[in-house]
Symmetry: C2
């Protein structure tokens, strides 16, 4: 080895698609036939340790190629970076990426370009955690509050959270962290499951899976709603009858409704005691969510999986639009922006219950909730991470669920890496699965 | 010719970039060195008339290739469409594009994917207007209110504007339309100019161009601000001294500030009597704009060129966050979504003063303001279209400015078509300009 500093020497991208639409896994009122996909990125370096950083954007099929193109457009900001410096301050990469004045026009800080930034930033954090020999949750929880604050871009949020307030929250968050870490390692972090509730499942399958969820130790399940009210009433009745009165039953409309419709529909399901209504309307509609929340209480309002950035989360909190903040590990600008969102939620006293599922979202977001528990909120009360039992077998270090809890990962990194054989099989359209599929050519033309 | 209906047979895309960064044209506090670009799309048909539909997304350089990829991802929704049906109801294409459940995940309705939809939808309107033998403003102004309402997607806006209210606005908007049309054809539509005020220009150039703007008949000019307060004070003083007290002086921060900073900075420039402060903070920040507006009155607050869709405009209006709605022809989902935004603005009694400039934004948006005047707002009072004197020479039917007014276009279509020789010269990276440029290879690697 020479004495030259190690550099990032490659930014490899992959268009990975799983044919989930064939089983109606993941079907809801807005997404009838998703093919869960990942625009996947690997940062390679010339360091002696041979470690890589992995990250991805989750999509549901068509357009995954656009997402890959967006990650490719960031390559120039990553290639040649000093690996030590990058891992010591992933925020420097984050700031360069969101600060590219030409690319910024394509957002700013939203949609395809912002998700691409999230994938690359998360890959840098994966690399940093691997090099530190720690799972990401632990790297974050061990970090100094001052360093964490420097990882955050406070632009556009200082009217709700200043760097000084963030520092104060993080300093106070340390009290009792050791004890919480022991409890986390012993018990894990509470999960809830959406596996029973996909809209494409019939009542029998719904009831069977709901019963199994309770038997497996989950204290909350979630049902997709919003396509047909009579169906929703029937499905909620089935689920409530199976799980009994104690288990929390969340419902999720996936943005299907206008504001007035959201209010009427949610109230029509109130007799089944839903714990929260998720994505009642457009994720862009701060004032709409606030109006829904006022009208459906005591049913809580939850949203976030499609909330584009910290600026919209800030307003959701300022407007009293949310009871539950649902961060997503791969929608916003990566770990750095999620640190801001976790601290905003803490400032407003709103619990964070992450969105997960898809491809690898469970693997990623568990780290952020565990950090939140150890270093920010200090509590797991009313906090649950979504769990969906799909596609974990493709990951090198898949999540481990035990008695309705996420077990704290111990492997270094961000749990983002797909197995090489899964990459080879599900690369679109050239992987062995798709190349052998008679419909692929048709899909490609569509 | 066979009797088979004419179809869309090709969706051609082009990555077009102009090297504007070399002159600092277009420089502002957030965009120091834009290369004005267009992700350009041409719909070709097998109709006997040989007419095409042209559209584009405007970008400022890097990432234009991502925008092209996004347009390419829509091809399957356009190819094979019946041309008569498409032109009779462009809204059917708009609904299919925003309704693609897999592509929707990449927004929804924001950023790269939504701008791509806007480009394709606008190309369809260009085709429809050409086939009708009318400039787009006239096609829209001649249309029945019922038909126009059917062109709008009311999802997520019915809490502010119902289809019935929209119909009522359009029916009332017809009164006096004949007289207004005569006046439009005679006088044109008022413009203001940003050409003097780019941040990269020195005081001499600013003063010289401001004087020329007044001599050319403009009653409003605009200055970029936000990089350095002392510079801004000096530049505003120069401009005000040159134009005198009667000419409106708008200032534009291009999202540079946090909320409190926006308030302080704007108030520090109040002595120069700015007419509006544009983009004081993030375009996503509805509540932030409302706070700024309360604190800087009587200076008006204007925004919109980066407002992602009708849902955010709706909230800006509901929250009393804006005095001026700045639509952009190529940021949202095309003509259909802009119809919704024009009607929302009318419902709330807020004047529309479009963003333009860039590449071809003047050419496009003039049609929407002229339609607004003829059929919705019925007034040009306090309404001006931005005008920037760049790159018009590349268009087949460039805007014509006379005595500070946009002359009503008479050529059929949406004025979107670039000259074939400009396409050949500025295609990136293979066009004759870029292929001959010694820096192109470096730019490409970056």
């Amino acid at each position: 080895m020479s004495d030259a500093p190690a550099r990032v020497i490659a930014v490899d991208t992959h268009d990975i698609r799983f044919p989930t639409s064939r089983e109606l896994d993941g079907s809801d009122a807005m997404n009838p036939d998703p093919d869960y996909s990942a625009a996947y990125v690997v940062l390679r370096t010339d360091a002696a340790d041979g470690l890589e950083g992995h990250g991805f954007t989750f999509t549901i099929g068509r357009g995954n190629d656009v997402q890959v193109a967006a990650i490719d457009a960031l390559r120039g900001h990553v290639l040649g970076r000093d690996v030590e410096e990058l891992c010591a301050d992933p925020g420097s990469l984050f700031r360069d990426l969101i600060g590219d004045s030409q690319l910024r026009w394509l957002g700013p800080e939203k949609g395809v370009m912002h998700m691409a930034i999230g994938a690359v930033v998360n890959a840098a954090w994966d690399l940093a955690a691997r090099r530190a020999g720690k799972p990401l949750w632990r790297l974050l929880a061990d970090a100094e509050p001052e360093w964490l604050v420097r990882q955050i871009d406070f632009r556009y949020i200082t009217d709700a959270l200043t760097p000084e307030e963030a520092l104060d929250l993080l300093r106070r968050g340390r009290a009792g962290a050791e004890e919480r870490r022991a409890r986390l390692l012993e018990r894990g972090f509470p999960a809830y499951t959406t596996s029973p509730g996909w809209l494409g499942y019939d009542d029998d399958k719904l009831g069977r899976l709901a019963a199994r969820a309770v038997a497996d130790g989950f204290r909350q399940i979630k049902l997709k709603v919003g396509a047909d009210l009579d169906d929703d009433i029937r499905r909620c009745r089935v689920a409530r009858a199976v799980v009994g009165p104690e288990i929390r039953l969340a419902i999720d409309a996936n943005q299907r409704w206008n504001v007035d419709e959201a209010i009427r529909w949610t109230n029509a399901l109130a007799e089944f005691g839903p714990y929260w209504i998720e994505e009642p309307t457009s994720p862009d509609d701060v004032l709409g969510h606030a109006a829904v929340r006022r009208a459906v209480a005591p049913v809580k309002v939850a949203t976030g999986e499609h909330v584009q950035n910290r600026i919209v989360f800030k307003q959701m909190l300022q407007a009293g639009a949310l009871d539950i903040v649902q961060i997503d590990a791969a929608r916003v600008g990566g770990v750095n922006e999620n640190l801001a969102i976790l601290l905003l939620a803490a400032k407003f006293g709103v619990p964070v219950c992450p969105h997960a599922g898809g491809v690898g979202l469970c693997e990623l977001v568990q780290h952020l909730s565990m950090f939140d528990y150890l270093a920010v909120s200090g509590s797991t009360e009313d906090r649950v991470i979504e769990y969906v039992d799909h596609l974990h077998e493709h990951f090198v270090t898949p999540v481990v669920i035990r008695d309705g809890h996420y077990t704290a990962p111990t492997a270094p990194g961000f749990s983002a890496a797909l197995l090489p054989e899964s990459l080879a099989r599900y690369t679109f359209p050239g992987g062995t699965y798709w190349a052998a599929d008679p419909d692929t050519r048709k899909d490609e033309a569509a």
